[in-house]
Amino acid sequence: MSKKYGDMSQKELLQIAKIYGIKNRHKMKKEDLIKALSKSKKSLKEIKKIEEDLKREIRKKKLENHLELLPKEPGIVFVDWQVDLKDLKTDEGELKLIGNKKEILNLSVKISEGKGYIKVEEGINLKAILGFRKKNRFSPIISSEPINVPRKSALKKGTLKWGKINTIKGKVVKKKVTIKPSKELEKEKEKLKKEAKHIKYLRYPKEEV
């Protein structure tokens, strides 16, 4: 630290002493803290070395069994898995994708690990199951949480339901009404969709001139 310890308050010195790992620091007077800090650069060096090490590579290479399915964009999902083969006799397996409760894809994969992006139908509820085939029967090992695959289009009109929110209790009281949106309003919505696509965010780096 370039700032002289003598210029610092007791509170500041205590903060630094904590980083330096100085024991009994709360019992020390300012002068003792300064002395202890001057002697303890070694401890901080050690900590910084640990920190540098922790920033480089992920230590825990081998994760516990997992299969995850994530939504990326309309019609594209990401799947990633790792399974410990210790009780299995084979690494040859199948990855099934179940969309709206029906099997939509069956891929031959390595059971131990894998990841990739898969194109699927937009707007469906999707689940992945990893397993293997034994005597012509599929034995599941692990399954993912279900997700909704994003869609890039509006749904055809559903039933119009209206609710009143109680702003204090926050409960919606539902009631059904039959109102049809006007043609003008439908046109307006189409216009909004187009405009929404044209917005560019300034927070992305500006292109070089």
């Binding site: 994530l70 702003t167 006007s182």
Partner: protein
């Protein structure tokens, strides 16, 4: 009384939690100092000015837990004090330099501006911006809302316990800062998928904000488009971004901030200063990182060395023209919407807070002028916050919003792609582990409890969407990658030490000081 249109301006204030007490100065901490000096303080000043002048307005502002934590951190505030004082000293030295008149005038402009902001920060706010904004919240001018704990993209988090922890810690941090529950939440990157509404409802959240398509693609189709909110079945109101009013400010091509008379963001004086001056005032290592002092205007599509000097007076004239145009357009939009729908429309316009002042230098003055003009002169447009719109219009359509975000492309590719997908398997397994040990350790001793709480902090910090964002857009990639790996490794190191009982106290203390967000955290929240 004639029917009105309601403009709802929403500012989202977020930065990742960056604190490096182990270093004398740390470049990435400048993100906070820049945001305070260039956006948060100027915005506080304009809101206060409007209040003093009797201008009534309603603006919504999110303050994420990392921003609140950093604005309340003594070490970071001290460093900000030094950051600002150094800039004032640099400007003072430049004032005595041998510069031509126009440059001197600009240096003087910055000198007075920074001095005034420093006085506001030190004397009026006593270094406490959170309370400053809190006061405006209590007076009903600002509607402050919270965010998930560390700005995690909830649709990419499949563990419901972790999702819930992100929401409830976000609310807890807000209550501790402002003394009351938030009525609204800003979902990180407006990222939404079905199921999140149930968590929000469970925690008493009344409303949130989505991008336009989150509402337009809802199931069922929204009757009023984005001109009114929709309710999910679980009683949360969802407001959609009005693209018409947003694009005039956001758009890099057609938006106001791109006007050639406005200040150029990419040309900073740091690149023209002698090394010894940079070392003395800006960075002890002589590293040339933006000082925030920028003397040129956008000028046109010309290289940086051909930019003309900034003309403040002209820029302010243009701001007035733009605010007039913005208000006129909102009035036209209101008239048009009133002609096709049977209720008063809301035009909700969300922005990153840092757009105003940091990216768009004249942004705060634009906002001040818009709010003043609307209050004084508009007969058909009023400002409103989403909560008050719900009070006014408590009956809305019930519909399930669509999976979406406000990121590039409208979904999740900014945070989930080939450069960043390695992150999620770790987060998934760490989240599961955290819930397991939250159940396992029923009566930990004092030291074990500290380790467990720190593990919770490391998990939450690893979940921050910022690291994946920075990696994807190619900004501070090494730092972001290092941070992600550091939090993952620290989590596992602590886990290992907890299991073996061999706890490295120095390292734990170091982590507690460095990753000191959420001092109130209790690991059992993951149960």
């Amino acid at each position: 009384m004639s029917k009105k249109g309601f403009l709802s301006l929403v500012l989202h204030s977020h930065l990742p939690f960056v604190k490096h007490p182990e270093e004398e100065s740390f470049l990435e901490e400048n993100w906070l100092y820049e945001a305070i000096l260039e956006s948060y303080l100027p915005l506080y000043v304009i809101f206060s000015n409007l209040r003093k002048n009797g201008i009534k307005f309603q603006v919504t502002m999110s303050m994420t837990p990392p921003v609140i934590a950093m604005l309340q951190d003594n070490l970071l505030l001290k460093r900000f004090d030094k950051y600002l004082k150094n800039r004032i000293a640099l400007l003072q030295e430049e004032l005595s330099g041998n510069h031509k008149r126009e440059i001197k005038d600009l240096v003087q402009f910055y000198y007075f501006r920074y001095q005034n902001l420093y006085r506001t920060f030190r004397d009026e706010l006593r270094g406490d911006l959170v309370s400053g904004f809190g006061k405006l919240f209590n007076e009903g001018l600002l509607e402050l809302i919270t965010c998930t704990a560390t700005h995690e993209i909830l649709p990419l988090e499949l563990n419901n316990k972790v999702r819930e922890a992100q929401v409830s810690i976000g609310i807890e941090a807000f209550i501790r800062a402002f003394g009351r529950e938030p009525r609204g939440i800003w979902l990180a990157e407006c990222a939404y998928t079905e199921g999140i509404d149930e968590i929000l409802s469970k925690h008493g959240i009344k409303f949130t904000i989505l991008d336009t398509h989150g509402i337009l693609y809802a199931d069922a189709s929204p009757f009023y488009g984005v001109s009114a909110p929709i309710f999910s079945e679980s009683s949360v109101a969802f407001f959609g971004r009005d693209p018409e009013s947003s694009k005039q400010v956001w758009s890099a091509l057609e938006g106001y901030p791109g006007d050639f008379n406005y200040r150029e963001f990419y040309k900073d004086i740091v690149y023209d200063l002698p090394e010894e001056v940079v070392k003395k005032y800006l960075h002890p290592g002589g590293f040339r990182f933006d000082s925030g002092i920028k003397l040129h205007k956008i000028t046109g599509k010309v290289p940086l060395d051909q930019k003309a000097l900034y003309d403040r007076k002209k820029a302010m004239e243009i701001t007035e023209i733009h605010t007039g145009n913005f208000m006129f357009n909102r009035e036209q939009e209101t008239k048009h919407l009133l002609s096709i729908i049977d209720r008063e429309p809301i035009m909700l316009t969300p922005f990153d807070t840092e757009l105003f002042g940091h990216w768009w230098f004249e942004g705060p003055e634009f906002l001040e002028s818009v709010l003043e003009k609307i209050y004084k002169f508009s007969e058909i447009v009023e400002t409103i916050n989403p909560y008050n719109y719900l009070v006014k219009y408590p009956v809305n359509q019930i519909s399930q919003p669509s999976t979406s975000s406000w990121g590039d492309g409208g979904y999740f590719k900014v945070w989930l792609n080939e450069q960043t997908d390695w992150i999620y398997s770790y987060l998934h397994v760490m989240g599961k582990r955290m819930t397991e040990i939250a159940y396992k350790y029923k009566n930990p001793n004092g030291l074990e409890k500290r380790v467990l709480n720190q593990m919770a902090r490391e998990l939450l910090l690893a979940e921050s969407s910022d690291w994946a964002f920075l990696i994807s857009v190619g900004t501070a990639v090494n730092y972001a990658t290092g941070r992600e790996k550091f939090h993952i490794n620290s989590f596992y190191k602590l886990d290992e030490e907890l299991c073996t009982g061999d706890i490295h106290i120095n390292f734990l203390e170091y982590l507690e000081e460095r990753d000191s967000i959420f001092p109130f955290i209790d690991y059992t929240i993951f149960k």
